[in-house]
Symmetry: C2
Subunit: 361 residues, 2 copies
């Protein structure tokens, strides 16, 4: 058994309206059933007319590019300097929504295909219907990734095979069940295609031979590769998520319970602010039910959902500025509690004491 990776040479420049199936079949009369075609998304975009006119240079070019990027963006994921990592309308997370200025006139930008899975299906169907070839098609593009330098080619669209090869449920020779081994084989195939494309000039299509038996249609396509942001541990850039945390601190809602806060977590929150609050300020966590019930009885507006009480005592003597500072320190503690996942509500102090405050948690 072996795989071969072959370049399709001689396709030449692709322009709007070109018939990719004819170009590829003409350049590679040696194609066989079961081959996997790895097609650079750029020629798909060009054939489909996914080009926009832009000024060749100057601020007008940058403005036009920004407008186009906004159109191609479903959600901004991270920004640093002029780099913008976005989620496209397809769901792919990539720099500049995959908009590309290379291998095109200086007055045009190339956008990603509108529906790369559909592009792959159409090309597969055209090769089958008009040339009698039963092949799988991958539409590929070059992407960066977190944590690792260098780019790799991955799949934007696929037809004729599933995007993922699922080993779950298989058992290794030692009897261990394989739990998480879903391999993104179309990404590996796209990368394998890049190896030969990158070695040659102007080779937008590679063929992987020997991988597939008989192609089969798979409705899900490369959408199977898109992880929903809600499931992703890295749905936002670090800086953006940090800012989200600061904004959350600015707008902390009143929230308590329903589960009693872990006393160790409350201690961590109190410790976190110990060095920044006014000297002499003391925060005390009251967890004992009876004490808390007694205190709660003295606190107007005590929320029924509260499962604990944090008492703050300001240093005395107090003037109005000290009380403002004390309030700021209580809010610091609320942010520290929120960092531990503990909601809180600022209440008037028990017994109306000027030098104290109460947080229901």
């Amino acid at each position: 058994m072996r795989l071969e990776i072959l370049p399709v040479q001689g396709i030449g420049d692709v322009t709007e309206g070109d018939d990719l199936a004819a170009l590829i079949a003409g350049a590679a009369p040696w194609l066989r059933d079961g081959d996997v075609l790895v097609v650079t998304s750029k020629i798909v975009s060009k054939a489909e007319g996914r080009l926009v006119d832009v000024p060749a240079d100057g601020p007008e070019r940058l403005d036009a590019r920004d407008r186009i990027l906004a159109d191609e963006t479903a959600r901004v994921v991270a920004t640093r300097g002029t780099t913008r990592i976005v989620q496209t309308h397809h769901g792919f997370v990539m720099a500049s929504a995959g908009i590309d200025a290379s291998n095109v006139d200086k007055t045009r930008l190339v956008l990603l295909p509108v529906d790369p899975d559909a592009s792959a299906r159409e090309l597969r169907a055209a090769l089958r219907d008009r040339y009698g070839l039963d092949v799988a098609v991958i539409v590929s593009d070059t992407m960066g990734r977190p944590w690792r330098n260098g780019l790799t080619d991955v799949a934007l669209g696929v037809a004729g095979m599933p995007a993922i090869r699922d080993h779950r449920g298989e058992v290794d020779p030692y009897g261990n069940e394989l739990f998480v081994t879903q391999m993104a084989v179309v990404d590996e195939l796209a990368g394998a295609g890049e190896l030969i494309k990158g070695k040659c000039d102007q080779v937008p299509v590679a063929v992987v031979r020997g991988y597939l038996g008989t192609p089969r249609d798979d409705d899900e396509g490369a959408r199977a590769l898109v992880r929903d942001a809600s499931m992703d541990l890295f749905s936002l850039g670090t800086a953006e998520a940090r800012v989200a945390g600061l904004r959350e601190a600015a707008t902390l809602p009143d929230r308590t319970g329903p589960d009693p806060a872990d006393p160790a977590a409350v201690r961590r929150a109190i410790t976190a602010v110990a060095d920044v609050v006014a000297p002499g300020t003391v925060f005390t966590h009251v967890t004992d039910d009876e004490v808390r019930a007694g205190l709660a009885a003295g606190v107007p507006g005590w929320p029924a959902s509260a499962t604990g009480l944090l008492l703050g005592a300001a240093p005395t003597p107090l003037d109005p500025a000290d009380l403002v500072r004390f309030g700021a320190d209580v809010q610091r503690l609320r942010a520290a509690l929120a960092a531990e996942g503990i909601g809180s509500v600022l209440l008037p102090p028990p017994g109306g004491s000027a030098a104290s405050a109460a947080l229901a948690i």
Copy 2:
């Protein structure tokens, strides 16, 4: 031109102390100069004795695993449930530090090689010195990644070729210079190797033939692929970075200037808290130099670095609890300013007014 990907079959089970060069050369007498060997890290680990004994099941197994993971971890990047994404001592960011329980007895765990680049160099040197073979060696492992479902194989170590192929400075046929095209070809080679390894049972080594001309030693190895956390837009998980923002809000340092704050950003911060502060609270941004100078003269402790002033006016009448609430609201505004990148210092109010506060920004 074409590439071939060939499986090395018949290597069998690898155990501590095994001579990988002998096993591979014996199983693949057809190896040639210029071949790229993609070697699954697990057999490298096993040969190098990177195995640890653990209980076969129960809480003791989990405890042991946690201890081992802590040892293999340089930095925790993200956690959700039992999933822990960490940066290893090599710098790789991966789930569970690459610790693996598959393809090994139930009472052992396999750790990553201590230095996969060194492992690759040693294997390359052994094949050259003892078998006269001039090949490149990639030590590969399977990893997940943000944003995309499915795993791919990538390189942990490499010898005999650079990890990255640099197209920067090249010019495309349209005259556009290629700026950012550094391809992580060893990751694509590792993925290509996985395609054949995943199709066969128990094939821990694949050979990519036709990619390299003559191997050459490269000192940097796969370390070239490790992006420093300080350069990474995704150095922390979204949840972890959000918590970091909350912690930052809890401990906001006194900081002002040196550049005047963008008035639009200050307005955004004031707007962000408008709905959550006590009704009637008013925040005003004072930017005019003379007004500011006059106000600053009335504010004790006004920092020389301050380039603006935010005045807060609490609703009147005030009792002590209202002042505490007002202080909490001022701290909310400080967090909102920090989210805009604007530092601030809480000062006593100008003229000692009980119902006001001043923030130097």
